[in-house]
């Protein structure tokens, strides 16, 4: 019986987006992180981060919300349930890819 080929989710697999998603799924579901924290932690330019966030947001993997706190704008980023599921699936597939050995 032939097995389905393993496919890694291309949206998550891109290295910068992988780091963003890893950061978001490593905190509890109810938590959000600020845009500035993600940018500084991952050492990204604002334009680069915004481009990748848009791709992840379009895939419904995260939510970006803008709020005002003490009259200062703040942008929050939170992984969605679909994003967490996609990351879990990506992680499982990555493990399978790494443990795969050709049959002799």
């Amino acid at each position: 019986m032939t097995q389905e080929p393993l496919v890694l989710d291309e949206i998550i697999h891109q290295p910068v987006r992988l780091r963003i998603m890893t950061m978001l799924v490593s905190i509890p579901e109810s938590d959000r992180v600020s845009y500035g924290f993600v940018q500084k932690s991952l050492d990204l330019t604002g334009g680069n981060l915004t481009t990748h966030l848009r791709k992840l947001e379009n895939a419904d993997y995260l939510n970006v919300t803008k709020e005002f706190h003490n009259q200062k704008p703040r942008t929050w980023i939170q992984a969605t349930v679909a994003g967490r599921q996609a990351f879990a699936e990506y992680f499982t597939n990555l493990q399978k890819v790494l443990s795969w050995r050709p049959e002799s």
């Binding site: 290295p15 992988l18 780091r19 890893t22 905190i27 938590d31 924290f37 500084k40 703040r74 990555l94």
Partner: protein, 206 residues
């Protein structure tokens, strides 16, 4: 951190683990830069105060050598309150939710234990008497420096170096400079802490 352009499965695996470690550590370091600077200023003021008391009221210090223990207790209490306020504000600007709050509580508990040990261990070692009270600051500084070093080993090497620097800033003048040791320690402590804060700022710690 792995190269961000390499999307091989092996690199992706390493990226996931590195990013998880880094983001967890970052939660524990909220506000650390500002907190370090604040402690540098506070310690320098403390040692300058100690130097002033030793110079202006030397008879009183000779009669009551333990006087610096309550003096430092007040200084450290001010520092702990200020640290928790700075840490809380920094943490709220990074993340909102359980992860940041729990990390903040753990960091606060870690430093409370270190500071409590700095005061209690000299007591347990029998140093709280007129003959040996002058050794208390050395033991206390050693424990605080150990706290920085352990915290740094777990989260950022720069903090471990700051811990070693704090110990050096106290023990070297204390050993070599006699009466002006406290003033020299104040300046060296400022230098160590500002250098540490600069190093942290160059990394990802705000």
């Amino acid at each position: 951190m792995q190269s961000t352009n390499d999307s091989s499965p092996e690199n992706s695996w390493n990226t996931i683990h590195d990013t998880m470690d880094q983001s967890r550590s970052s939660m524990y370091l909220a506000g650390m830069n500002t907190i370090l600077l604040m402690w540098g200023g506070l310690m320098a003021l403390g040692y300058l105060g100690q130097f002033a008391i030793m110079s202006l009221a030397s008879d009183f210090v000779d009669r009551s050598p333990w006087v610096f223990a309550p003096f430092w207790l007040v200084v450290v209490a001010i520092g702990l309150v200020a640290s928790s306020i700075i840490g809380h504000r920094a943490s709220k600007s990074r993340s909102d939710g359980d992860a940041a709050r729990n990390a903040g509580l753990r960091v606060f508990a870690f430093w409370i234990v270190v500071v409590a040990a700095a005061f209690l261990i000299p007591g347990a070692a029998g140093l709280w008497n007129d003959d040996t009270a002058s050794s208390i600051p050395g033991v206390a500084i050693g424990i605080i420096a150990l706290g920085y070093t352990l915290f740094g080993i777990m989260h950022r090497p720069a903090l471990a170096v700051v811990g070693i620097g704090i110990a050096a800033a106290y023990f070297i003048p204390d050993y070599l400079l006699g009466d002006i040791a406290a003033a020299a320690t104040a300046l060296l402590m400022l230098a160590v802490v500002f250098a540490g804060a600069f190093w942290l700022r160059k990394s990802d710690v705000a």
